[in-house]
């Protein structure tokens, strides 16, 4: 599979289908995003579920792809994307953060094991170029265990989990969908600042609700949590609610408006776009 990805990336660069390839690079055993500008570097291109591509940079609070497109609006960027990377791109485009017209997606499917590892419900991109579609993980033991608890038990469970929070903001920082310039989590009027644990439930719940309909289910927030709060569990339930209530799923179609940005008379509201291209 990796060889196929490298070959295709090489062909795209050589055939000028794209100007650069945005993918993962392996060096000394460590894997991180990298912009390949020359075909000779592609020997270090790798595929892994260890790292995503589209992170929001801080303190600018802009996606790395937005920053790239701002610098070079005409550069065509080839992106080696897993399902979740593609959903992030679509959702970012929908919200005015990036220009999908200048992006060519090389969709790579995840294996069954990789899907299990990420507890991923949809382990393949729409623009599938390489790999086979495998069935997503529909059963999640954490979700089931939670749903089997009584309401008071659930409250105790979440109180305990949230009380572990050390306010690193890591869940927000790794989220490709968290790019608000005036993040409410930082504001004293919503949750007391300068204190551990942060105010329960406000501090984390602000984000749960704000991201509820844009969450692409990549699980990066849970993986970034230093105290192992089961954040993917709550987002799976929120995603389920959004699907049930609005028949909507984030990250599938850039042309589909978010239900929470739609008014009752069906004229779509404009999201305040303070950045992006």
């Amino acid at each position: 599979m990796l060889e196929k990805v490298r070959d295709l990336a090489k062909r795209w660069l050589e055939d000028k289908e794209v100007d650069v390839i945005f993918g993962l690079k392996e060096q000394d055993g460590y894997i991180a995003p990298y912009l390949f500008t020359d075909a000779s570097e592609l020997g270090n291109l790798t595929i892994s579920t260890q790292c995503r591509l589209c992170y929001t940079c801080r303190p600018s609070k802009e996606n790395i792809l937005s920053l790239m497109q701002r610098k070079e609006p005409n550069t065509k960027i080839g992106v080696v994307a897993r399902g979740c990377d593609e959903r992030a791109l679509i959702e970012l485009a929908k919200r005015g953060q990036i220009d999908l017209g200048k992006v060519k997606i090389m969709g790579v499917a995840c294996t069954q094991d990789e899907a299990k590892g990420c507890k991923c419900e949809r382990a393949y991109p729409n623009n599938l170029v390489l790999g086979e579609r495998v069935k997503g993980v529909s059963e999640d033991e954490n979700v089931d265990a939670l749903l089997n608890k009584s309401l008071p038990e659930r409250l105790t469970f979440w109180r305990h989990e949230l009380s572990k929070c050390i306010k690193c903001y890591g869940c927000r920082n790794v989220c490709p969908m968290c790019f608000c310039k005036d993040c409410k989590m930082e504001q004293e009027i919503y949750a007391r600042t300068g204190w551990l644990p942060p105010e329960i439930p406000m501090f984390l719940f602000i984000r749960f609700y704000h991201v509820s309909e844009r969450c692409i289910g990549c699980g990066e927030c849970e993986k970034a949590c230093p105290v192992d709060i089961p954040l993917l569990t709550i987002f799976k339930l929120l995603r389920r609610d959004v699907k049930d209530l609005f028949d909507y799923e984030a990250g599938l179609d850039a042309g589909q408006e978010s239900p929470l940005l739609t008014t009752l008379d069906e004229a779509p509201m404009k999201e305040e776009v303070t950045s992006g291209v």
Partner: protein, 685 residues
């Protein structure tokens, strides 16, 4: 367009987390966590996540500064280096080399600390080199060396996860070492018992099975009490005591006198809680002790540390995984700065300057005759500066004007110097007093290594260019040594410096950049084939006779106790949102948003007695000085105790602290002094 991610080691605490610096066209645009790193595992704390912001601050120093007619003017590197060289020669000739002293830096790399101590000894000709380890874990180095043979964390961080019991004493782990607290919480989830001993109800206490709230400064009595219960109930590990230790009879005699009743009287911890905690610790298959400055920063710092070692050895909890004594070190490279010999009595690898063989070995390598007399420690340097015996000081990456006890006295000392050179990334409170300021590169702008609290040596990689004319500390030291006339500072890269370190330092003998690029190595790492040592003392201790030493240690009161005039006990420390003297964190937006300035924690009962409202400004006074600061009324402190974080220059806790020293380790007693509080009418500023 160029976009890359450069893996590096966090510049804040000693946990040694790694992350990537995101670089877009040469500009630092963000930070990404690294999931394959053994400690951080793709997670970071709030400081780590924001460790890029101060790097690009427009307050960074970009040009050398020289004081002319009382104010700073920009100067060329040539001019400032010539000026320093001339002064160094003058003082050496007129007053002797010991009239100069050097402060090295726990924020700088191993290579830079090695060079700084080499510069002090081989170029200046003095052993007057020390750094802030004196102020945080000097008692660890002394205490653990006398108990075990080596002054460092015995086990590795991740092992904590599999401990059956974890005793945390004097460490606010969740705030000061958040990514280490991660492994305490994971151990809890797996069923471990957690004992927290602390005068403040710190964040971890909410998860503790046993919370022992002691009167500040009574740690030895707590340890003796725990051991009294353990011996009384026959829970000690007799085989371990017989085969691996000495001094048991002495310990037994002393501990006998610390009955739970007496310990309750001294410490305020109820005897039932003490007994329950002692059982939990002793009965666990594997028990770990974690401590930090809560026990080291006392006039009895060494006693406290050795007492913790007593408890571990008494129960056989040393020399196997998930056990041991785990001092958590506060700075990214305070372990490394000590390992490199940035201390007045040892060369790298703790080779003693009074040992003729060691002196000869380093003297031969550096082609110079080395001074024999051990040098001055941090607080002693300031005292001698105030007395006029130290004429010149060279400070690299330290800010004693905030970090040292009794700041008024520190200022007096620094101002009394004839010549002060400060090398830093910002114009700190200390740099403002300097005659020459040298602009240095930050961690993101240079290559090198840091050694974390678990003895793990890790790479620091250059991501971006240093701003303006600033240079890496290692380059500045080499440049200066060359101008003074030394031929022993011809290094092309930090990798070459590490090769020299490895050749002279047995515990770093097998360490090289080729190996470190693939991942960290824990010392001792004796040869190129040696895999490193995650936990110490598996077969034997490293004292002369291979045995660990148990000491009978009597409880002693702190140097200054509350009285009628100063009725409160003042304790100081850090908070999660800021770091040390605030030089880096106070230039970071989100951190300032969380906590903008200092405060004094006071209990609700004391606040009521003083008729204080929350956030009201008060005056806090001790025999050293007075500050105005806002009150924070909280149950986190008990009656009679107040707490002030020391990060904030405008209400600096260290104006108040007591510079009384531990007699051996010379660490000041930051954790206990007597204070009074008064309401003030006018709000300052």
């Amino acid at each position: 367009m160029e976009y890359k991610n450069v893996l590096t080691t966090c510049p804040y605490c000693g946990a040694g987390c790694n992350f990537y610096l995101q670089v877009l066209d040469g500009e630092l645009v963000g930070i990404l966590p690294c999931k394959s790193h053994p400690v951080s595992q793709g997670k970071l704390c709030i400081k780590g996540w924001n460790a890029g912001e101060f790097v690009t601050s427009d307050e960074r120093l970009t040009k050398p500064l020289i004081r002319r007619n009382g104010s700073f003017t920009e100067a060329s590197w040539q001019e400032v280096l010539d000026t320093i060289a001339k002064k160094v020669k003058e003082y050496k000739e007129s007053y002797g080399p010991d009239s100069i002293s050097v402060l090295s830096s726990a924020k700088c790399t191993n290579e830079e600390n090695y060079l700084m101590m080499k510069f002090a000894r081989a170029v200046l000709g003095t052993n007057n080199v020390d750094h802030c380890a004196r102020l945080c874990h000097a008692s660890t180095v002394v205490g653990l060396v006398q108990s075990f043979g080596s002054g460092a964390m015995t086990n590795s961080i991740r092992e904590l996860e599999d401990a059956g019991c974890i005793l945390v004493i004097g460490s606010n782990t969740a705030e000061q070492h958040p990514l280490i607290a991660r492994y305490i919480l994971r151990a809890k989830e797996k069923g471990a018992k957690l004992i927290v001993v602390d005068p403040r109800a710190i964040t971890l206490t909410q998860f503790a099975d046993h919370y022992l709230r002691l009167r500040p400064g009574t740690d030895v009595a707590v340890f003796n009490g725990l051991m009294n219960v353990i011996l009384g109930e026959g829970l000690e590990d007799k085989e371990f005591i017989n085969e691996r230790t000495e001094g048991f009879e002495e310990l037994k005699e002393t501990v006998k006198r610390y009955t739970p009743e007496r310990v309750e009287e001294i410490t305020g911890i109820s005897k039932d809680k003490l007994i329950a905690a002692a059982r939990a610790y002793a009965k666990a298959e594997r028990a770990s002790i974690i401590y930090s400055m809560g026990i080291t920063q006392h006039t009895t710092g060494v006693d406290n540390v050795s007492s913790s070692a007593n408890l571990a050895m008494l129960t056989g909890n040393v020399g196997k995984t998930s056990t041991g004594i785990n001092p958590l070190r506060g700075q990214n490279n305070v372990q490394g700065a000590c390992d490199m010999g940035a201390l007045p009595n040892v060369y790298s690898g703790y080779q003693n300057v009074i040992d003729e063989k060691a002196r000869e070995k380093f003297g031969n390598a550096w082609k110079v005759k080395l001074p024999e007399k051990p040098g001055l420690t941090v607080v002693e340097m300031m005292n001698e500066a105030a007395r006029g015996n130290i004429k010149a000081m060279y400070i690299m990456g330290e800010n004693p004007m905030i970090s040292d006890p009794d700041i008024s006295h520190v200022k007096e000392g620094l101002k009394n110097l004839e010549f002060l050179v400060v090398q830093d990334i910002f114009l700190t409170e200390t740099a403002q007093l300097a005659d020459v300021v040298l602009p240095a590169a930050s961690y993101a702008e240079k290559e090198g290594t840091f050694t974390s609290t678990e003895r793990l040596v890790q790479m620091v990689r250059k991501a971006i260019e240093p701003p303006g004319e600033s240079r890496s500390d290692w380059q500045i030291i080499c440049d200066l040594a060359k101008v003074i006339g030394s031929k022993e500072f011809e290094y092309k890269s930090p990798a070459e410096i590490m090769d020299e370190i490895a050749s002279l330092t047995p515990s770093y003998g097998g360490i090289s950049y080729d190996r470190l690029r693939k991942g960290g190595l824990a010392w001792p790492c004796l040869s190129k084939e040696h895999p490193g040592t995650p936990y110490l003392y598996k077969e034997k201790f490293t004292r002369a006779n291979d045995r660990g030493k148990l000491f009978g240690i009597e409880f002693k009161e702190p140097a200054e106790l509350p009285d009628d005039e100063y009725p409160f006990i003042l304790s100081t420390g850090r908070i999660i949102f800021h770091f040390h003297t605030g030089t880096m964190t106070r230039k970071t937006g989100l951190l300032n948003r969380e906590v903008a300035t200092g405060y004094v924690e006071i209990s609700p009962k004391d606040a009521e007695r003083l008729a204080l409202a929350n956030r009201e400004f008060v005056s806090v006074q001790t025999r050293r000085g007075q500050i105005e600061i806002k009150a924070l009324i909280t149950e986190r402190v008990s009656e009679g105790v107040i707490f002030i974080p020391f990060h904030f220059a405008e209400c600096a806790a260290n104006v108040l602290t007591n510079p009384a020293l531990d007699p051996v380790a010379k660490i000041p007693e930051y954790k206990v002094c007597a204070a009074k509080i008064e309401k003030i009418k006018e709000i300052p500023r």
